[in-house]
């Protein structure tokens, strides 16, 4: 090592840093392809179901009359629809305050083997200023259309 000239040491350091950073970039790119959780609406999830146990997000409208609570008082079942298809969802936990029938919801979780979506977390509209990103486009005309279609 002692024979290395200062210029060479700088080069060696540069190469090490570049290899590590490029390695990190490639690793990140590979992991992102595998680990990013995709956003689905019900008709997509019905047409092309994701592999079971893969983390995904499901967004749509909570169907009127579909919320049912189990006897334990904390597990709820409901249907999420987009006007074309409905997906059954099960969730155990405290629901967000604005989670009601006919409102928009984004469920984070995974598809179970029986075709039920098992949600780990529910995101509903908190208030006017804080809406899950996926619900932003859906509010307004589209949401109204979905609700009127499904509540007939």
């Amino acid at each position: 090592m002692s024979a290395i000239k200062p210029k060479h040491q700088r080069l060696v350091l540069l190469v090490i840093a570049l290899i590590a950073l490029i390695g990190a970039g490639l690793l990140a790119a590979w992991a992102l392809r595998n680990q990013a959780s995709y956003f689905y609406v019900p008709s997509e999830i019905v047409a092309h179901p994701p592999e079971a146990d893969r983390a995904v997000r499901l967004g749509g409208m909570v169907q009127a009359g579909s919320i049912k609570t189990d006897p334990d008082g904390v597990t709820i079942h409901f249907m999420v629809g987009d006007g074309k298809a409905n997906v059954p969802v099960v969730y155990a936990g405290i629901v967000p305050s604005l989670f009601v029938e006919g409102s928009g919801v984004v469920a984070e979780g995974r598809m179970g083997k029986d075709g039920t979506f098992v949600a780990d977390n529910l995101l509903a509209k908190h208030d006017e200023n804080y809406v899950p990103r996926e619900l932003k486009d859906m509010s307004g005309a589209q949401a109204k259309a979905v609700v009127s279609e499904t509540s007939q």
């Binding site: 200062p6 350091l13 990190a24 983390a55 334990d72 936990g93 804080y130």
Partner: protein, 648 residues
């Protein structure tokens, strides 16, 4: 009147920034040398004016002056005073005004006290500071005027987002801003050094207190923000890899790397170009954070401005500042001569690994944060969460933490692992003890398992440099390093323990029912309505007892605010030395029972204790560095005086 005064002060401050930039640049040329006289006074007066503008806005909010648009939009006369004041920066315009104010104050301070560097470098530095500042003045004055009048005045204010009506808000944004903006000083120093080709250990010593200061505030801000999310959101988690959280983590990672590489430059005159590069990157990450948070590109509790024009403005500033700095870097990097050499096994070598690993983690977090924005441009909506961030960053964090356990014991320049054989064995033994303990507990997932083992190794390794040294005579900076590294171990242990041992119970209970979670027995006694200054709530009164100890009262609430109308859940926490009980009350079920969510989180508090220790370590190091500098200055002055006396 106050609003007009504030606006006038802001315009004048912007004009002074322009003067500072112009005279700073011209004074670097042969002809304009006389203009150098203007630079420092311009910076100081600019700081005073900016502080006056911010003071005016504070006053307007304290008085709830509803003839000012910003106040009417974000405040309400029924709010407690502390939240009226905090509302000043709880909105887009006010927070940007806070940003430029802190930046102007920092610029004024360096202009006033910093005399160690060659004057040309200082002029270039202050010019760079004015360049960055000017962009933000333009942003405020042309697209985010905080002093805009509302005519006719509003009858009543719109109120502040209830999630933000919390004591944490009073301190969280200013703390982070002090960190972000402190890095702007490091950026300006880096640009100044590049412009005048003057990258010396002295430059690193001058820059270091600013990096340390910024880093302390970032550490505190992240720690506080994490605790705030933990108890305010009521989800039991303390870090969600939310883009906004990442926006504060990325500058921290860059600042941590910069801190360590600056210490190599200061002590050993090596890693010159790398330190400059990191100085540029650290502030770029601060600006990136501001862009992500303030542009409205993300929808979150932090996104005040959902206004594309503003987003584009910040993006333009970001590209202009970073682009200019990178071009300058590319042009000048070759002209900086190489620093001192070192062997692979040496303190420098260990710090290079630290720097490379931190940069890699920074890259991973950055890619994960931007990826959803990129795919959305192609119409694919994804979200990136813990399954990506945790394992991928761990791949670089694990070797970094192993090096952290032994690196501080290595000598500068050249060393051999054989010399520190015994400490290495001690660290390995700590790791083995960790493996055995974690195995015997059983059922722990891979990442928390590694975390527990590593935290023990780092804890042992971080105190070993104290061995054989006189604790009284140990420099404060070394104490700072030891405590900060120990803080990393403590925080890591808390994170791992929380994910390994947390127990959760979810029940629907009627008053009188008993629920169990971990070693706790919780009785729901009653659910009663209560009222606060601007909210009403349903409060679940519970008695919680840990094993056979006497019961303690806790009362989580489900709050309803009326301005603006919104519901939040206030969790209740019961803290013991070995963890926290976390209780949330939910909705009333149809049969009159109440949903309760209870967590027993062993050692979760260590996360924030660790964060505070890291910041404290930084503070000790800062005090140590500054006191050494002052002593040196004093000694120099005395030598000069004696010399003068001799001549006379």
């Amino acid at each position: 009147m106050i609003a007009e005064f504030g606006l006038a002060a802001l315009w004048l401050a912007a004009a002074l920034a322009a003067l500072q930039l112009l005279s700073g640049c011209l004074s670097l040329t042969e002809k304009g040398q006389n203009l150098a006289l203007l630079v420092r006074p311009a910076a100081v007066i600019q700081a005073v004016l900016c502080a006056a503008a911010f003071g005016s806005l504070l006053l307007l909010f304290a008085r709830t002056d509803l003839s000012v648009l910003l106040v009417a939009m974000n405040s309400h006369s029924a709010k407690p005073m502390i939240f009226k004041v905090a509302a000043t920066w709880g909105n887009h315009e006010g927070s940007m005004l806070l940003w430029v104010t802190v930046m102007a104050l920092a610029g004024g301070l360096i202009a006033l006290i910093e005399k160690r560097l060659p004057e040309r470098t200082m002029l270039a530095t202050l010019g760079a500071q004015a360049f960055v500042g000017l962009g933000f003045y333009a942003f405020l004055l042309f697209s985010s005027n905080p002093f805009e009048r509302l005519s006719p005045p509003a009858e009543q204010g719109m109120g502040l987002n209830p999630l933000l009506q919390d004591i944490g808000l009073a301190f969280h944004p200013p703390t982070l801003y002090l960190g972000y903006v402190g890095l702007s000083v490091a950026f300006s120093f880096a640009v100044g050094a590049l412009l005048t080709r003057n990258v010396t250990p002295e430059f690193a010593r001058v820059m270091r207190p600013w990096i340390l200061g910024a880093w302390i505030f970032l550490t505190l801000g992240i720690t506080a923000g994490s605790y705030w999310a933990y108890y305010e959101l009521g989800w039991g988690g303390w870090w969600f890899w939310d883009p906004v959280e990442n926006a504060s983590l990325m500058p921290w990672l860059a600042a941590t790397a910069l801190l360590h590489s600056a210490s190599v430059l200061a002590s050993r005159d090596a890693l010159r170009t790398w330190t400059i590069m990191l100085g540029v990157i650290a502030f770029s990450m601060s600006m990136m954070g501001t862009f992500l948070v303030r542009s409205g590109i993300l929808t979150s509790v932090h996104a005040f401005a959902v206004d594309p024009e503003r987003g584009s403005f910040i993006l333009a500033l970001l590209v202009l500042n970073i682009g200019a700095a990178l071009v300058l870097f590319a042009l000048r990097a070759n002209t900086i001569s190489e620093g001192q050499q070192f062997r692979a096994v040496s303190r420098e070598g260990a710090l290079v690994i630290n720097n490379v690993a931190l940069s890699a983690i920074l890259g991973i977090v950055l890619l994960g944060t931007l990826y959803p924005l990129l795919t959305e441009a192609f119409g694919i909506r994804v979200s990136v969460g813990p399954p990506y961030f945790n394992p991928v960053s761990a791949i670089f964090a694990v070797p970094m933490l192993i090096v952290l356990a032994v690196g501080p014991m290595l000598r500068w320049r050249r060393d051999s692992l054989g010399r520190i054989e015994k400490p290495i064995i001690a660290v390995i033994l700590a790791g083995l003890v960790g493996i055995i303990v974690a195995f015997s507990l059983g059922g722990i997932e891979l990442l928390p398992f590694i975390g527990i083992v590593l935290s023990l190794m780092v804890a042992v390794g971080s105190v070993l440099p104290l061995k054989g040294r006189s604790l009284r005579r140990l420099p404060l900076a070394v104490w700072g390093m030891v405590i900060a590294h120990l803080g990393i171990a403590v925080a890591l242990f808390g994170m791992s323990a929380d994910s390994a041992f947390t127990q959760q119970t979810l029940v629907a209970a009627s008053p009188g029912d008993v629920a169990k979670v971990g070693p706790w027995t919780i009785t729901l006694e009653s659910v009663d309505p209560v009222a606060g200054p601007n909210w009403t709530a349903l409060e679940g009164r519970m008695a919680a007892s840990y094993r056979d100890e006497p019961a303690q009262r806790i009362a989580p609430q489900s709050r309803t605010f009326w301005a603006p109308p919104q519901q939040t859940s206030e969790s209740a926490l019961l803290t013991r030395w070995n963890g926290q009980l976390y209780a949330v009350i939910g909705n009333e079920a149809e049969d009159g029972r109440w949903q309760l969510r209870l967590w027993w989180k062993p050692f979760v508090t260590f996360i924030w204790y660790g964060g505070i220790m890291i910041a404290l370590g930084g503070l000790l190091a800062l005090m140590g560095r500054v006191s050494v500098d002052l002593r040196r200055r004093h000694a120099q002055r005395r030598i000069e005086q004696r010399h003068e006396g001799y001549v006379q």
